[in-house]
Structures are given as C-alpha cells and as structure tokens.
C-alpha cells in the first residue's frame, strides 16, 4: 500500500512542483543572481559587481520617494479597506433594526452585497478606463462636471486629480529620502479601496455568519447597542480574519503596480513627475527605460529589495497578530 501511494502522490505533485520551480523559484534565483552583476538584459556576457547595485539603490532619489509612497499606501489602504469592509459586513449581517425578533442585516442587504462585490469582478484594465473618466481633468470628467455644475470649480480651472502632484501632507525630507502623499497617489488609494472593499466584505460576512446567532441574541437581550455588539462581540471573534486581510492588503499595498501603470501620466506611469511612482513601477522603468547599460541588473536589485521588504512586513504581521487562544464555537 505504502509503495503504491508514494508514486501516486508524487505523480500529482510533480506537475505543480515543476511549474512552481520553473515559473517561480528559478526566476527568483535568477533575479537574485543578476542583481549582483552588470547584466543588461540582452547580452550573455556580464560581470560580477557585488553589492554595488544595492548601494546605489540607497542613493536613488526616485526609488526612495517611491518607498515613501508605498509607506503611505501601506498606512492608509489596509486600514480604510478593513474598517469599511467590517462596517459594511456588520450592517449587512447583524446591523438590521432590532424592532423584530432575530438577528439580520439591513433591508436589501443582498443587493448591497452584490453592488459592493461588483468591482472585484472587473479586470484592472476596465477599472482604469472607468476611473480615468471619473477623474478626467476637464468638463468631461465625472467629478469635475459635477463640481462645475454646483459652481464649486471654475470651468477654466478643472481639478487635475491624476495629474496633480501637490502633496496633501507637508513633504518630509530625510537626506535623499522623501515622504509625501501627492493627490494622484490618494486618488489611486481611493480606487484601490473601491475595488477591495467588496472582497473583504464577503470574507468578513462569511466569518460573521459562522458566529452563532445566540451570542448576538444574548447581547441584545442584555441591552447591548449595535456599536457595543460590534466592538464587544463581532470584532474579537473576527480577529483571525482581520489579520489575514491585513496581510493580503499589506502585500497588495507594496505592489500597486497595475493601478499606477493603468491610471497615471507618463511613459510607464508614475507621473506626473514621479508623484505616483511606487517601488514596482520604478523597477520596471529602471529595467527598460533607463540609459544605464546595466539597467536590468539594477532593477533586479530593486526587485530583491521589494521582495525583502514584503517578507519583513508579512513576518511582522504574523508575529503581531499571532493568535492567542482560539475561541471555539
């Protein structure tokens, strides 16, 4: 029996492992290797340069600014997404009026669920097209035309949104490092939240539905308000799910590539004037649009540093949210 099972399991695992090795592990290893060379992406002849590329990363102002942008995204995007998703999930599942017996969501909650989840089924390209129209910087843009109709924006001074590089916080400079939050970046975060809330809403909804109704009923009988129920009952029981969501969103926040490429000005996105550059978009620009002969290797070093930061973040998250005693119900 045993002898029969091993080849059987190996047979099933062979294809996925092969795919994983060929398409994930080998590219990672190659990237790590190229990052210490002066490889140009085309020629098979290249030399070993040690950690030079990594040291140059620390002097690349745009890269350091891009890290700052990722930090902004990392702070705002997961928190707002999780809070909104939690709030909506709560309202849709247990937030209904208490004038009738039983625990339920607000009226029409299934319709809301569909509406909230809808952005999740759209491809990022469609999302980009839609939001470009919404943010368009003339009277054809949705927000601008509405504001113009209300008389809040003059017709010859439309808001630029995705082409606006002004920072909403005073920029902080530390040596070559810059921390700023340009309007264009805030717009992108808004789009990401719009696209992400639905998914986490469904995730939290499912979790909430698995919480026994009698816990809620007991709380209601004791006279707990909706707010109290949320903070005392729902949130503690959703700890695990929130923590998972946090890690997913954290990783997404360190990427953000597709939105930058799809929505922002400039060749390869990241504009105006690097105001929306994130680490991944700057990596691509450095690889293929730089004039340095070893641009590709430099970008590989950048990629390794992104991988390292992502792993550190995930590790920290796991540590911080390591589950205490799991509640069985």
């Amino acid at each position: 029996m045993r002898n029969g099972r091993a080849p059987f399991i190996a047979g099933f695992l062979f294809a996925p492992i092969l795919l994983y090795v060929v398409y994930v592990l080998i590219p990672y290893a190659r990237t790590a290797y190229f990052s210490v060379t002066d490889f140009n992406g085309f020629s098979p002849e290249y030399g070993f340069v040690g950690l030079g590329n990594y040291l140059e990363l620390l002097k690349d102002e745009v890269y350091l600014r891009a890290i700052g942008h990722n930090v902004v995204v990392l702070t705002v995007y997961p928190i707002v997404t999780i809070l909104l998703a939690l709030f909506f999930a709560f309202m849709l599942n247990v937030g209904g009026r208490g004038d009738k017996a039983g625990i339920r969501g607000v009226r029409g909650s299934s319709v809301y669920k569909f509406i909230f989840f809808f952005p999740q089924v759209l491809s990022i390209a469609i999302v980009a097209v839609i939001w470009r129209r919404v943010f368009q910087s003339n009277d054809g843009g949705m927000i601008n035309s509405a504001l113009m109709a209300l008389g809040l924006v003059e017709e010859d001074k439309p808001l630029l949104f995705l082409a606006e590089s002004d920072s909403v916080i005073p920029a902080i400079h530390l040596g070559d490092f810059t921390l700023d939050a340009p309007v264009v970046l805030i717009c992108l975060i808004g789009v990401a939240i719009w696209g992400g809330v639905g998914f986490y809403l469904v995730l939290f909804s499912a979790a909430m539905q698995s919480i026994p109704k009698d816990i809620y009923e007991a709380a209601t009988l004791d006279g707990a308000s909706r707010v109290q129920t949320f903070f005392r009952v729902t949130l503690p029981l959703l700890r695990e799910h929130v923590s998972v969501a946090w890690i997913y969103l954290g990783i997404a926040a360190l990427d953000f590539y597709a939105l930058v490429i799809g929505l922002t000005p400039g060749a390869g996105g990241g504009g105006p004037n690097n105001a929306s550059e994130v680490m991944s978009s700057w990596m691509l620009t450095s690889a293929f649009r730089s004039s340095r002969y070893d641009g590709f290797a430099f970008a590989c070093a950048m990629g390794m540093s992104i991988a390292l930061l992502t792993m550190l973040l995930a590790g920290a998250q796991f540590r911080l949210t390591r589950s205490r005693d799991k509640l069985e119900f």
Partner: protein
C-alpha cells in the same frame, strides 16, 4: 526613440550576434534550397554596360529579390514599384517579399551570405547596420547619391532629396541607409477654422500673443498638448530651444555641456511656456488629458494648435469632423533675438532601405531604389500611403489629403531642419524635461525650477559612468 546613425545600438548588435548563433542551424538547408533554384533562372548577363540611363550596369533579364516591411505603409506601393521595375526591365522578374519582422526573417540570410538585393530595413526589429557594415555586407549608397536621377540625367539623385535625408542614413560618415519616408512634426491646426475666424498662422511671438488673446475672446484655447504623454511636450521644448538658440544651443544640450540648460535659449523657452500657462492660453486641464482627447479638442475647434507628427490625420481619421482641414505649421519664433529663422522644421526621415553587397543582383537593388526616388514612383508612394517620401516635391499638387499637402509645403519651404540627438541617447532626460515642461504648462512651476530640474538630470547623466556618452559634432 530615434536611432541615430553614429550610435550603433549595443543591444541590437548583441541581439543579432546571439540570434546569428541560434539561426545558423536553420539557415544552412534554406541556403542550399535557394541556391538550387537560382541556378536555373540566370539567363541574361549579370552585369550590363554602365551608361547614363543605366548607371549601375544592371544586367539584362536579371531576377531581383526585394523584401519590404509590411507595416503602416502597406503593400500597395511596393507592388507598384515592382510592376514599374518589371516594365522598365522586361524579362527581369522581381521577386517581391513582405515581412513583419525584418530582423528575424532576414538575419539568417545575411548570416548565410545570401541576402536579398534590396531590403526595406524597417519594422519593430531591424537589422543593425553597424555589425553588418563591419562584415562588409552592405553597399555604400554614395554611388546612388551621385548617380543621375531617374527623370533628369543632369540632376544627381542626391539633389532630388530633401535636406537631412543623407545625414539620417550615415554610419561612420558613409551613407548605407536610404530613409525613404519623411515625417514632419510641428504645430497642427484646423485651416478651415482659421479661415472662418479670420485667424492667421503666427510667425513670431508677438503674432502668437495677438492670436492667442483673440482666440481667448472667442473662448478657444490657443494651445493644447497631449498632457499625460509628456513626450509630445518634450518635442515642443526642443523646437522652441532650437528657434531661440539654433544648432549651437542644441549641441550644448546634446553634448551634456555644463549649464547647457541654463543658457538663454532655454530660459526664453521656459519663460514662454510659463507665459502661455499664466495667460490662460492653454486648454484647461490639458495636463491630465490623453492624446486623443487633446487632439480631438483641436479638431472640435476648442483649441487652435497642438504639436504632433504627420500621422495625426490618420490617427484621428475616425473622429475627424467633416469640414476640418488639418494643416501643419512650423514652430513660430519665440523672441526677437532668435538665432533660427521662421520656417525651420523638425522632420525625420525614416523607413530605411539597404542594399546588401552579397546579393545576386546588387546593381538591380540600386536601380530599384533610384527608380523609387524618381518622380513617378515617389508620387505613387505619396498617393498610396498619404505620407511624404524624401523626394523633393513628390506630393506637389496632390489633393488627396490636406494634411499631406500642407506637410509637403512646410518641408519644401524649410530653411533648416531642427534636430536633437539626446532623445535617443539619454532616456532619463526625455522623462525629466517632459515632466518639468508639463508642470510649467499646468501652471505649477517656474522657469527657474524648470531649468534647475533639467540641469540636475543632465548633470546626473553626465556624471553616471554607467551611461555610455555620445558626441554630437554637427
């Protein structure tokens, strides 16, 4: 990116070497197959007597293999050329081939020593001329330039070409590539709108100022630009710098000279851009709009001028309102002390042709090119592709496209051709200058900040040992 003749792309060279190795395995059987068929049809003599009418000594009844790139210009003009050649040399069968990727399809033929007689070296990937020349595989086209032209034996071929054609095909001082199509860049506008409103195309800054103020009263923006694609505005900056400072100013920039971006020509350019923004002459919100939206604004009469290339009419064909007559104007002078005279135009010959020296009938290849540069065939090209060839006056009197007519007029009248090289050499500068100029036109920056931003990147590029430096001498 422009490929400049005196900067052979290192990447391309290496790519081709690598492919040469890979393709070597495949090429050998093909060669023997081709050799087998060619031995059967060689009837006439390989070379003919060189005469005024036959300057390259094309042999009688010699087959000719010509390979064209099948891209934006299509196949029709190539077929017309082939038919004309067969008519002139009866019995010389032209074997016409088309390819979408010249490098992939024809690199093995060079490697196998069996190239076609004429090759349209254009497409997303082309044969890098540098290594091929070093291998002695390309005909120096100087003999074509010095040959009598197809229509008038008293005029040499080179005298029928528009300025800049020869320069654009030079490699190490010799011409190996004949660029056949001529793209004109400049300020595009709707001639019909100008006629109804009584506007005139400005030749200097005062005239532009007057026009812009008049247009403002008519609620039309005098200028717009393809906002989120800064490359277009990058070109406007360079054209203005050239108008103000001429070749000298541009050479300093191309050669990364210290403080090149602090010179007067740059200063006045930046001030003019800032002035346009400050006085409200620029389409509102243009900085955040894309190329089709802003180009459409000109077609719809919401803006007067937009900088673009001669592909504009084709690009906007689907939404071109009836009655709009697109035309192009050269950049106007921007100050009283401008070094360059009005009329200078940024134009760039492209769509290269090369004559491999190891083909069976290189004389035929040269003759085919000479014929293409003749009046009849160059006019055919203009008619069929609605684009200009590098032949002077080829599109004169053609009325198929207003944009084409206007572009050919502007090209013919140009006292000099505006050009810069750093665009192809130093990519970070293109990005930085485009972004800084966009800030200027969005009214978010100052001329001083523009100059500082451009100078900073220029200095960084100059300092960066990892960027290979080039030198412009003319």
């Amino acid at each position: 990116m422009t490929v400049t003749p005196d900067s052979p792309s290192e990447l391309n060279r290496r790519t081709v070497l690598r492919r040469a190795a890979a393709a070597g395995l495949l090429a050998a059987p093909a060669i023997s197959a081709l050799a087998a068929c060619s031995s059967e049809d060689g009837e006439g003599s390989t070379t003919g007597e060189k005469t005024e009418a036959n300057p390259f000594g094309v042999g009688d009844k010699q087959p000719l293999e010509v390979a064209f790139f099948n891209g934006g210009f299509g196949e029709d003009y190539a077929k017309a050329d082939a038919a004309a050649y067969e008519a002139k040399w009866p019995g010389s069968k032209v074997e016409l081939k088309f390819s979408k990727l010249i490098l992939t399809d024809y690199q093995p033929r060079f490697y196998g020593g069996n190239p076609p007689d004429l090759l349209n070296n254009s497409s997303p990937e082309t044969i890098p001329v540098g290594p091929v020349i070093q291998g002695g595989q390309l005909r120096d086209l100087t003999e074509l330039l010095d040959a009598p032209s197809y229509d008038d034996p008293k005029v040499k071929v080179k005298d029928t070409l528009v300025a800049g054609t020869v320069e654009s095909g030079l490699f190490s001082g010799k011409m190996y590539t004949l660029n056949y199509a001529y793209s004109i860049y400049g300020m595009w506008y709707d001639e019909a709108l100008f006629a109804t409103k009584g506007y005139t195309v400005p030749k200097n800054w005062d005239e532009f100022t007057a026009l812009a103020e008049k247009a403002k009263q008519d609620k039309i923006a005098a200028f717009t630009f393809q906002g989120i694609h800064p490359w277009y505005l990058f070109n406007v900056v360079n054209e203005f710098i050239w108008m103000a400072g001429g070749l000298d100013a541009m050479m300093k920039i191309d050669n990364l000279e210290p403080n090149a971006w602090k010179q007067d020509a740059v200063k006045v350019t930046a001030e003019r851009l800032a002035e346009m923004a400050a006085k409200g002459w620029v389409q509102a919100g243009a900085a955040g709009l894309d190329h089709t939206t802003t180009q459409q604004a000109v077609l719809d009469g919401k803006a007067l001028f937009i900088w673009c290339g001669s592909w504009l009419e084709g690009e906007m064909a689907k939404t071109l309102p009836a009655g709009v007559k697109l035309a192009v104007a050269p950049p106007w002078n921007i100050s009283a002390s401008d070094k360059s005279k009005y009329g200078a135009v940024h134009a760039f010959p492209g769509e290269g042709f090369i004559v491999p020296s190891k083909g069976k009938n290189p004389a035929g290849g040269l003759e085919f090119l000479r014929m293409m540069l003749g009046k009849e065939q160059s006019r055919k090209f203009a008619e069929l592709t609605k684009s200009l060839p590098v032949v002077k006056g080829a599109a004169d009197g053609l009325t198929i496209s207003n944009a084409l007519t206007s572009a050919s007029k502007v090209a013919a009248a140009a006292p000099e051709v505006i050009s810069w090289r750093y665009e192809g050499w130093y990519a970070p500068m293109v990005t930085a200058v485009g972004a800084a100029a966009t800030d200027l036109l969005a009214g978010k920056s100052t001329p001083a900040a523009f100059m500082a931003a451009a100078q900073k990147v220029a200095d960084e590029v100059a300092k960066d040992e990892k960027i290979v430096k080039q030198k412009r001498t003319a």
